[in-house]
């Protein structure tokens, strides 16, 4: 699940590198912000802030933290790409696509039922 703590290999995690502090063995960020993915923490820090993320992670069970960090990282990335709507823009787009698909499907089923009511089997 989580990658091994980078502090165990004497290399600070991306968070501690960015924050210019010593990466302690029990660093809460280390399992989720490896040093080879610096942009991940940069984004999360910019949108949420390190202390907010620390508080959030500390309120979660360790088994939930990786998913939480990944979803925060996704939200942060979306917010930086679209500072006005962030993830909400994605949700709106998907809802619009869903409505369009539902209409198209309803149309297609209506067409199909016309053929079926004429007793056409559709087999060659």
């Amino acid at each position: 699940m989580a990658s091994s703590s980078s502090s165990s290999s004497n290399s600070p995690c991306a968070a501690c590198k960015f924050l210019r502090r010593k990466c302690q063995p029990e660093c809460v960020f280390a399992p989720y912000f490896p040093p080879d993915q610096p942009q991940k923490f940069v984004n999360v820090h910019k949108v949420f802030g390190a202390s907010n993320v620390t508080k959030l992670l500390n309120e979660l069970h360790p088994s939930q933290r990786e998913d939480a960090v990944n979803s925060l990282a996704y939200e942060a990335d979306m917010r930086l790409r679209d500072p006005v709507y962030g993830c909400v823009g994605v949700i709106s787009l998907l809802q619009h696509q869903l409505r369009q698909l539902q209409m198209d499907l309803s149309c297609a089923k209506s067409e199909l039922s016309k053929y079926q009511s004429l007793g056409i089997t559709g087999h060659a």
């Binding site: 869903l98 198209d104 149309c107 089923k109």
Partner: protein, 185 residues
């Protein structure tokens, strides 16, 4: 939206932050005092200073939408600390994929009906003047495509929908763990 500071009532942000709500308060237009929870959530998840920086980088006419989307995300994260609004995105992506498959199957059936040579039940007259069907199979397909909006002849395409994947991780999959979530906004 009038600034609450003009009524001598601090906005929800300044009330929570226990500071004087100045006339130019950046939060005041968007965090009225009668909606305290909106700022509580936003402050908890994003922090007041991050929100200030973000709003300062936007045009004034963009700020209301930005605050509302931040408030939505913050509330979603408070309700679901693990997945936040990303849970809703995953749910919606799966719904879209499911409906796309159903639509593809229905289209395939329609193409079979449109292209096969089984008579449509129209009256046939023997002799020199044979009644032609209203639509040939090829025209039937074109007519169907026109009606369902697939003018190009292709099936419904997802126009650049953002899958849940990370730009820094080439090996990431397009799907998330089973993290449920509401689909509505």
């Amino acid at each position: 939206m009038a600034s609450s500071s003009s009524y001598n009532s601090p906005c929800a942000a300044c009330k929570l932050l226990r500071r004087k709500c100045m006339p130019g308060c950046i939060f005041a237009p968007y965090f009225p005092p009668e909606e305290p929870q909106k700022f509580v959530n936003v402050h908890k998840i994003f922090g007041a200073s991050n929100v200030t920086k973000l709003l300062n980088e936007l045009l004034p006419n963009q700020r209301e939408d930005a605050v509302n989307s931040l408030a939505y995300e913050a509330e979603a994260r408070v309700r679901d600390p693990v997945y936040g609004c990303v849970g809703a995105i995953t749910f919606l992506q799966r719904q879209v994929q499911r409906l796309q498959k159903e639509l593809d199957a229905a289209n395939a059936d329609l193409i079979r009906y449109a292209c096969n040579d089984i008579p449509t039940g129209l009256p046939q007259v023997t002799g020199a003047s044979t009644v032609q069907p209203t639509l040939t199979p090829r025209n039937r397909l074109a007519e169907f495509n026109r009606r369902v909006g697939n003018e190009g002849g292709g099936f419904y395409q997802l126009p650049g929908a953002l899958p849940y994947s990370f730009p820094w991780n080439d090996a990431s999959s397009g799907d998330m763990n089973d993290g449920g979530g509401e689909g509505g906004m």
